[in-house]
Every structure is written in C-alpha cells, then in structure tokens.
C-alpha cells in the first residue's frame, strides 16, 4: 500500500501508470490530505509508481522528519503506514519556505538584471556607477511594522560583494 500526502494549499492531480492498467490513471490528492493506493499491488509495482512520484520531487516521511527539504513542492509518500498529520504540517511549512525563497530570488535576479542591462555590450563594463531597485510594503499608520513586512533593497555598486540568492 502506498500513502501519498499533499502538503500544499493546492489541489494535486497525479497521473501515473502501473503495469496492470493500459491507460494512465488519475489520482486526486486534495490540499492537506492523504490518499492510499495499491492495496493489492506487489512490491515491484509500488516501486514503479514510487519512481514516478520521485520524478516530481516527492519525498519520504523520513526525509521530512530529518528536514531534508530543499525546494520542496509538497508531495510526501509512505509505504504501508499512514502519514502522521504533523509530518504534513512540517511539509507545508517547508513548501511556504520554498515559495518565499523563490520569490526573493526572482526579485533579486530582476534587480540585478537592471544593472546588467546598463552594461557596455563589448567590454561588459558597467555604464552606471550604481543601480538600485527597491520593493516596499507600506504599513498602515495604525499598524506596527513587523519583521515579515516586505522591504527589499538591492544596489549594485562598484567594489560591492557578490549577490547571494536565497535559493
């Protein structure tokens, strides 16, 4: 038996092939839930379907427990035992963390590309001494600013350090 959990806020449709069926099969895994398939499957079929899950970044329960979750997209599987709720919760936090890093990386890359666009074609030399891009979330007057408010400021200066992307 193969248990598959969806730790995202999105509805997951997983199409897979197994040897006993000629056509691809559709498995719906609603947000935050787990489904069980293959109660009658022999081990090698479970292995074949697991391999298809692997190619879409699914991880084992043990990987969630040991926090090996880089660029995690939310599919968790387990052979023969149900996936505990807290594992799905931890997985969801990893998904949100990845989404944050992804957004920050793309924003930083976009800011850096402003500098790239201002470079000389032949020499690659920068035509601006410095370029700067900011993204700011204005907080309402009656609300206290928190560390979670969006405030990005990327400057490219001569003699500055390398741009380290969050992901």
């Amino acid at each position: 038996m193969l248990f598959i959990a969806n730790a995202t806020k999105q509805h997951r449709v997983f199409y897979y092939r197994s040897p006993e069926a000629k056509r691809p099969q559709r498995l719906d895994i609603p947000s935050g839930r787990q489904v069980a398939i293959g109660a009658t499957w022999p081990h090698h079929v479970i292995g074949l379907v697991t391999a298809q899950l692997d190619s879409f970044g699914a991880v084992r329960v043990a990987d969630v427990r040991s926090s090996r979750l880089e660029k995690f997209h939310g599919l968790i599987y387990s052979h023969d035992t149900e996936i505990p709720a807290e594992v799905i919760e931890v997985g969801h936090e990893a998904v949100v963390d990845h989404q944050h890093r992804r957004a920050a990386s793309e924003a930083a890359k976009g800011a850096a590309s402003v500098d790239l666009n201002m470079r000389d074609q032949k020499t690659g030399k920068r035509t601006a001494k410095s370029t700067r891009v900011t993204i700011k979330q204005d907080v309402p007057h009656n609300v206290k600013p928190t560390a979670d408010d969006i405030d990005m400021d990327v400057s490219v200066e001569e003699g500055g350090g390398p741009l380290r992307l969050p992901e």
Binding site: K9, Q10, R12, D54, H73, A111, Q121, I135
Partner: protein, 344 residues
C-alpha cells in the same frame, strides 16, 4: 547615478552606423494570464490593500403537489478577500557630463535611463505576478490557493520528458487538461468559447508548437504527420471557437515540482452562456447579478506606467525616481488555473 561612456579611438575615414546594439531581455508573456491581458489600473496612490467582496448562495425550495405550509428561503452568505499592495521603485542619477559622454555613442541618456528603470519595475511586476511578494499570503499565480497542480503521466512508450514524449499523447494530455479546466469552471455549452492561455518557458512551448510533429501511427490520429502538438491543440480547440495561445516566461524554468518546468494553463475571464430559448436559467443569480467580477486572475496597479519624479541635485546633476504601486498576482477563482509540472 553616473554613467560609463568611455572615449572612442576610431580610424578615419570610416562609417559610423547610427543603429546601436541594445541588450534584449525576454519580453515576458506572463501578463497574458490576467483578465484582458493587463493589470487593473484602479488603485489610488495611497491604497495599502485591495478588497473584493464575494457572495455565495444556497437556495432551498419546496416541491409538492399541494401547497406547502412552510416555505424555505435562500441563504446568502457574504465574505471578503484582501491582498496587500507593494511599492516598486527605481532610481536614476546623471549629470550634463554623462549626457555629453552618452551622446558620443549617439545615445539619449535620459531616455535610456527611463526605459532601464521602467524595465526593472516591470520585471518586478512580473515576479510579483508569478511568484508573489509575500507567498505565505497565497500571492502569485504559482502559489494560488486551491489551484490544480497536474503532472503528466508517462506516455504510451514509457517516456516522461518533454523532449522524448510522444507528440500525439502530449496533445491529448493538454486537451484533457483543457476539458478539466473548462468543465470545472462551467465554461461550456451554449455559445461559450474560451480564451485559454498557456504561460510556459520558451523551450517548452517552442518544442510543442514548432518541433514536435504528431507521429504517424497505424491508426488515424489527429494531425499525424502534418501538424505539431501545439498546432493540433489549436486546431482542435478552434472548432468550437475557442483559442489556445502560448506565451513564454523563461523564469518558469525549473519552477515546477522536482525541478520540472512550471506551465500555467488558465482561462483569464469567465463567460456566461446564452442558452437559446431557455427561460429557466439555473445560474440566474450568478449570471444576472451585477456588478459581477468576471476575472479569474487579477493584479492591481495605481498607474499604467511608473510615476516619474525628476529632482535636481547639487552640482548640475538630476536624479529621477520611478515608482509604481501594485498588488502581486492574485487568483480569484482557483478552478480557473492549472499548473502543469513539465519534465524537460
């Protein structure tokens, strides 16, 4: 901020070509996923949040041969949704010497700085549209709550990647997703046709639309030997008047699950069918009540182009700031967006 235009040493006689080689960035098609292909320019400069009201209904009725003693009634329940706005800014600083140096390259520096800053802001808008500024709030189309994420199965020969996938199987996979998308949104029947928009990396859509010719088989297959996967999908969809358009954004490379490419499939606006001769419209409430939000994906902005504020600085320079207030990409109807994880 100062600009770098070095002096030139050239031979004479010579010919100076007036056209300049400018760096080309990708022209992202991501905004095509928005209602009417563009942000809603409705914000006032100081608006910090955008709210949308929503009304749901459950109507109970009674049916009996004789008049009932007690009539049930309709339940209307209202809620509202909100999203934050963000200010995107960029700055350019230059003086008369920079302009003079740039003019040696036949370049108008104020215009160059203006377009460069605008491009930076528009790129951040694209990032906000796809990935959100604060994804924990479900901002960004890829993070849309309740969106349907789909992964393609192996094709009939066991191939899994886009480059090896059977072209006909891929076309049928896409058409099936369009059927799921349209039926999930009730966008079928009557005179309804849909504008289906796909945003994918170039390498995905060019492979499907220009390279992957549907293979000939021993049985009749749509477009076999004559059409690409993309051509066949378009052709089949055109038969009921629907359109299927590809746009690209290369930042989607590697953004799907497990390092796959993310492909967004969406219908940006909903329509209501005109059912001929039907007086009993079972979607009377939804199709008639106004003002009705038809958008599936929205993004709000306070201006169509960034506000430009030039200020003189000491010693003959000028500093120009550009700013635009936007929301992130906001999906209002999650049934209307499919994210396909496409292994390349």
């Amino acid at each position: 901020m100062a600009n770098y235009f070095m002096a030139q040493v050239k031979a004479r006689p010579s010919f100076d070509e007036p056209e300049i080689i400018f760096t080309q960035a990708q022209a992202s098609g991501a905004f095509e996923a928005l209602e009417n292909s563009k942000p809603r320019v409705k914000l006032s400069p100081g608006d910090l949040y955008v709210y949308v009201n929503a009304v749901d209904l459950r109507t109970e009725t009674v049916s009996a041969q004789s008049l009932a003693n007690k009539y049930p009634s309709a339940t209307l329940s209202a809620t509202y949704h909100g999203t934050q706005t963000y200010m995107i800014g960029a700055r350019a600083t230059y003086d008369h010497r920079d302009m003079e140096a740039a003019s040696n390259y036949a370049l108008a520096l104020p215009a160059a700085q203006q377009y460069a800053c605008q491009q930076g802001i528009f790129q951040q808008m694209r990032n906000g549209l796809l990935y959100g500024f604060n994804p924990a709030n479900n901002e960004g189309l890829l993070n849309a709550q309740g969106a349907i994420v789909v992964s393609p199965p192996q094709d009939q020969f066991g191939n899994t990647t886009l480059q090896t996938y059977d072209s006909g199987d891929m076309a049928l996979f896409f058409l099936n997703q369009v059927v799921n998308l349209r039926s999930g949104m009730f966008q079928s029947g009557g005179d309804i046709n849909s504008r289906v928009v796909v945003i994918s990396p170039q390498r995905v859509f060019l492979q499907l639309s220009d390279a992957a010719v549907v293979q000939l088989t021993s049985y009749q297959r749509e477009g076999a030997g004559s059409m690409t996967t993309g051509g066949m999908i378009k052709d089949v969809m055109a038969r009921d008047g629907s359109t299927f358009d590809w746009y690209f954004d290369d930042t989607l490379i590697g953004k799907g699950a497990g390092g796959t490419d993310a492909v967004i499939l969406t219908i940006p606006e909903i329509k209501n069918p005109m059912l001929k001769g039907t007086v009993a419209q079972t979607n009377k409430f939804g199709s008639t009540m106004q003002p009705s939000m038809v958008a599936v994906n929205v993004m709000y902005a306070d201006m169509v182009a960034p506000l430009e504020i030039p200020t003189p600085v000491p010693d003959g320079g000028i500093t120009v700031i550009y700013e635009l207030r936007v929301t992130a990409g906001w999906n209002l109807r999650p049934q209307g967006i499919y994210i396909i994880d496409m292994p390349y």
